[in-house]
Amino acid sequence: MGELDVLKKEAETLKTQIETARKAVNDTTMEAASSGVAPAPRIQPKARRTLKGHTAKIYALYWALDNKLMVSGSQDGKLLVWDTHAGILANCVPLKSAWVMTVSFSPSAGLVASGGLDNMCTIVNISGEKPKTMRELDGHDGYVACSRFLSETSILTASGDQTCGLWDLETGKQKQSFLNHVGDCMCVALAEDQNTFISGACDSQAKLWDIRDGQCKQSFIGHTGDINAISYMPNGQAFITGSDDCTLRMFDMRADQEVMCYQNAQPTAGVTSLSLSLSGRLLFAGYDDFNCNIWDSLKGEKIGVLSGHDNRVSCTGIPSDGMCVSTGSWDSFLKIWN
């Protein structure tokens, strides 16, 4: 056997051994362990606000830390900043490229970031009288699918070029590159201490990274399709992913594997987005079939549905105080529910 074949065999053997090691710690399942827990109440949140303003598909939304402002991005080429409780528009940012895929606020909400098919992440200062483009982070070879601020001066991106990037906003340069995925990177989530982050990609894998040295620390398999959404559980030890394979899955980093799968009885729509309630007990997931399902994250049961959109739910978000959940859709509307 050539050297290549020997190495391939070694890699495969290691992977099999890892699977065995993972199975060895499965002394129970999450469902079995939570069988004694009282079921979460079946909730029927009502739509408290419908925010109309976009004129085309909404692709992304993001809550500010003040729990009042929310920004949304749409293919109509605009970012709209909403004063959600008052139900009115607070700001409008026109974009150079209408093909926006991601939006986010900086911690102070003075900056918004957007990214998309232009392969760039654009940072706009909205704290002044008029929105002013501050930076155009150019360096990815593929679309920017997700962007998350670490601070007012640092941002993380996920790209269709199969890499994630950490950027310094003062120099506009990429500080760190994260290479390991073999498919387009679709989503990222930052750990609270900002020392690590997780990513989901079209190679069906989720990965844990060290921000400072750029190394992939752990890889998680289980999904059979693109991972479109990812979010940490509030305890910071586990995370949930949503995929085109119509399932959501919970992975625990200490157990180093998938611990739960959330699947409709008839799985016929991919998951586009997800958000977790403050305690982590409730999981809100947006689907291609225009609904947002509510799952009991511990027991794996569906306990409610948010239906009201006339097209795909493309994004969801829960503010940091957990008071409500917002959904954005291809029908051009945003709804706020509780």
């Binding site: 190495l7 890699a11 290691l14 992977k15 051994q17 362990a33 890889s219 030890q237 586009t272």
Partner: protein, 476 residues
């Protein structure tokens, strides 16, 4: 729980269009619906002087679903059924709008040739041929709807120069259709129309063939896409999909494999926690925080989204933290450090004990990480002088290893110069200062005292609410 994914080549990239997974699942259900024995009963219905071949009613579909799929109720069945109709797997024979109704509306199955899993992207020239052909046929049921007539007019303008060619194609197609058996024609005509209802939907209806822009830019196999329905364009595919060779999978290099092996070895060596422990900690966490989760416990005094009363937010912003918020600080040091009011109280307590240097150092380092880069070197020096240099006014106690590393870092100062020291101090605070704080009378008072004022606040709030409602009703 790992599953082998036979949709992926060795590179791990999915070979198919993004919706393929969903199409396959729907087709599984369709296959069961079409089973001879346990499927939906298909029949020919006599109507006036003609027969309606190969149909079943909307109720038939709903009943079948309730019986054969793990579906809870009629609403879910209609939802799933409408989804499948919108993708074109079955369709109402007398309506362009593809939804499922639980009544006697007649439906028909779509022929596999037209299934979305064949990656159709029909051209406008084909649509033109189709509409043109419809106008040539003398049947009431084939009359164009308003939106179709408009589309035809638009296409005539767009393809003005090659209209003669399109017309000829339409004539040829019409001729072929005429030769078919009457019953067969009815079925095929309706299936063809349903195909176009999916790809050129009625204005206002969702186009289910629309693909997310993130996915459309990575359609890997353009040669698998079928663009021509009536053989007009050069169909790039010369043979069927099963005979089309898959693209060459990229072979990993020796270096890449060695890297991979290093990674997998490190993974193998990692410690894994038992599932029971993982579940226990997760259950514990969710239970502890359930009272803070507005979806599971009503916030005090109310959820501003529910009642339009913003008191909750006002309380959160005020300098006086409520009892529930103070209680949360007791869950762990991170809760105290996360909450500005918590940090303030913690600092106050430590200052009263003259042991606040650890917390002040930790806060300074956190703030340093958010500074603009040009201010970092100066700030690093300031922090070093204040906390770590010999004779520092707020000297902190760091282990020798971290101290040595920090001394080095300070020579070439960056945002993370104090990482090791900060981690050491954090652990110290967690085990020492934090537990003293929680046991302190200062903290306990906060915990208790708020109960009293909460009562007063409660009364005040309801009076405020009353006076506000009175004002809004203009009673005074």
């Amino acid at each position: 729980m790992a599953q082998t994914n036979n949709l992926q080549n060795t590179n791990g990239e999915a070979d198919d269009s993004p919706n393929m997974l969903v199409y396959r699942k729907m087709e599984d259900v369709i296959a069961r619906m079409q089973e001879e024995k346990n499927g939906i009963p298909i029949r020919t219905v006599k109507s006036f002087l003609s027969k309606i071949p190969s149909v079943f009613s909307g109720s038939d579909i709903v009943q079948w679903m309730l019986k054969n799929l793990s579906i809870e109720d009629q609403v879910e069945a209609l939802h799933l059924g409408t989804l499948m109709a919108a993708h074109g797997y079955f369709f109402p024979i007398s309506d362009h709008v593809l939804t499922l109704k639980d009544d006697n509306t007649f439906y028909r199955f779509q022929t596999p040739y037209f299934w979305p899993s064949n990656c159709w992207e029909p051209e406008n020239t084909d649509y033109a041929v189709y509409l043109c052909k419809r106008t040539m046929q003398n049947k009431a049921r084939l009359e164009l709807a308003d939106y179709e007539a408009e589309s035809l007019a638009r296409l005539q303008r767009a393809f003005a120069r090659k209209w003669e060619f399109i017309f000829m194609q339409a004539e040829a197609q019409a001729k072929v259709d005429k030769k078919r058996d009457k019953i067969e024609r009815k079925i095929l005509d309706s299936q063809e129309r349903a195909f176009w209802d999916v790809h050129r939907p009625v204005p206002g209806c969702v186009n289910t063939t629309e693909v997310d822009i993130k996915k459309s830019s990575r359609m890997k196999n353009p040669h698998k896409t079928r663009k021509s329905v009536y053989g007009l364009q050069n169909d790039i595919r010369s043979h069927s999909p099963t005979h089309t060779p898959a693209p060459e999978a990229k072979q990993p290099t020796v270096e890449e494999l060695q890297e991979q092996i290093k990674f997998w070895q490190a993974q193998l060596d990692r410690h894994r926690l038992k599932m029971s422990k993982v579940a226990e900690s997760l259950l514990c966490y969710t239970e502890q925080y359930v009272e803070y989760d507005p979806f599971l416990a009503t916030p005090d005094p109310s959820n501003p989204w529910n009642t339009d009363d913003a008191t909750f937010w006002e309380q959160e912003a005020s300098k006086e933290p409520g009892q529930q918020r103070v209680k949360r600080w007791g869950f762990g040091i991170d809760e105290v450090l996360k909450d500005p009011a918590g940090r303030e109280q913690f600092l106050k307590f430590l200052e009263s004990e003259f042991s606040s240097e650890n917390l002040r150092f930790w806060l300074a380092v956190q703030e340093l990480k958010r500074r603009p880069i040009r201010e970092v070197p100066t700030r690093v020096q300031e922090i070093w002088q204040e906390f770590l240099a010999s004779g520092a006014p707020s000297a902190i106690n760091v282990d020798s290893k971290s101290y040595a590393k920090t001394t080095q870092n300070v020579k070439d100062p960056g945002r993370y110069a104090f990482e090791d020291a900060q981690e050491h101090i954090y652990k110290l605070m967690k085990s020492d200062s934090y537990s003293r704080f929680i046991r302190s009378s200062a903290y306990q008072e906060l915990l208790q005292a708020k109960k009293k004022s909460a009562l007063i606040q409660g009364r005040r709030t309801s009076f405020e609410k009353f006076s506000r409602s009175v004002k809004s009703k203009n009673l005074f």
